[in-house]
Symmetry: C2
Subunit: 185 residues, 2 copies
DNA sequence: GCCAGATAGTCTCACCTGCAACTATTCTAA
DNA sequence: TTAGAATAGTTGCAGGTGAGACTATCTGGC
């Protein structure tokens, strides 16, 4: 593996071409991706997702949208609309629609017409879906615990709080209750 | 908007069908997506990405892989291989390959043959690419600051530290130096 | 009651991305 | 030296996903 020069020559190149570009605060208006929060968040989320996907994909043949539908229906024990699921999980309605179709075919969920509004359907887990849900949840929680085990209890709490603050400032917080208010069900 | 019952009836349904399933710690083996770290991380990352994408997509017609290539080349002022960029950014090599092709066409980067290993090419920013990079970076940093402004300086530090710990435990930490060691350049 | 605009859900289209095959080149070990 | 394994980079293919059109239905104002 030829490795003629890396750290050694890192400072060597004075960027001569940039001198005329006086508008730019010259040199070191640079950005280290590894210290850039958006990049780190993306990478971290992807990695964590991949760790969990082993559970629901490998084991149960679910993809992320399908899992999100199940998770939403499993948590709220009442039937709710596809629209509600989409709003809750911040997933595009066409994606949810496809996930719903697939879960219906696998008889993991069922849907009933809503007599009050015949545009929409109420979705809920079937017995089979509930069984799967209740089997899957502890596994995922276990994974989550493993991933977060590197933090102390205090740190986990702090982490949750900080994430919460960022979510809030991004107007990302949409609890079930708020979604209720907006989307009914 | 009819909202007949939500929180009120949430506790109503005793899941009678599940009683036979004695293996499962009955009732409330449920999971609130909104409190589930993997889901929150995913959602947060997506939201933050979307906020930044406005800068590099709308303004400069770059997509994420293209931006990652630019960011990597801009940070390390030396030329490096596509493979190196892929490893650094944890992006699939075919994705990087396409981004490189597109950036070459736009003359934002250029590539030179590596006489020592003619399988690979060294990539670096062109003058035009540098100008774009130096224009873009402050904008993105500004966005990052805006997003993180909801945290105090101390909180930001803590947040970084905690993210770092999780990354580390996921074996996600790959600093430029480590990538150097592994991938040369 | 009726029409315009909103809404739920489906579907098509275009795009993006990962996988895996492929080429060219380099490395390793006999 | 040379065959086989490994590596850099490209490309075809298939699957997933968002945008937006479309249908059916509902709502609100006149």
């Amino acid at each position: 593996m030829a490795k003629p020069s890396t750290a050694a020559s890192r400072r060597q190149a004075k960027p001569v071409e940039d001198d005329r570009n006086a508008a730019v605060p010259l040199e070191d208006e640079r950005l280290d991706l590894f210290k850039f929060a958006p990049f780190r968040l993306n990478r971290l989320a992807a990695e964590v997702s991949a760790a969990l996907a082993i559970e629901y994909r490998e084991r149960y043949g679910l993809d992320i949208p399908e899992w999100r539908v199940l998770a939403t229906l499993g948590f709220r024990r009442e039937a709710c609309s596809a629209q509600y699921v989409a709003a809750c999980t911040r997933t595009h309605k066409s994606t949810i629609s496809r996930a719903v179709t697939s879960l219906l075919e696998r008889r993991l969920i069922e849907r009933v017409e809503n007599a009050e509004d015949r545009r929409e359907f109420r979705l809920r887990l079937t017995r089979k879906g509930k069984t799967l849900y209740e089997e899957l949840i502890p596994r995922l929680q276990q994974r989550e615990r493993e991933i977060m085990a590197c933090l102390s209890a205090d740190e986990r709490k702090t982490f949750d709080r900080l994430i919460g603050k960022i979510e809030e400032s991004l107007d990302l917080i949409q609890t079930s209750e708020e979604a209720d208010a907006k989307q009914a069900y």
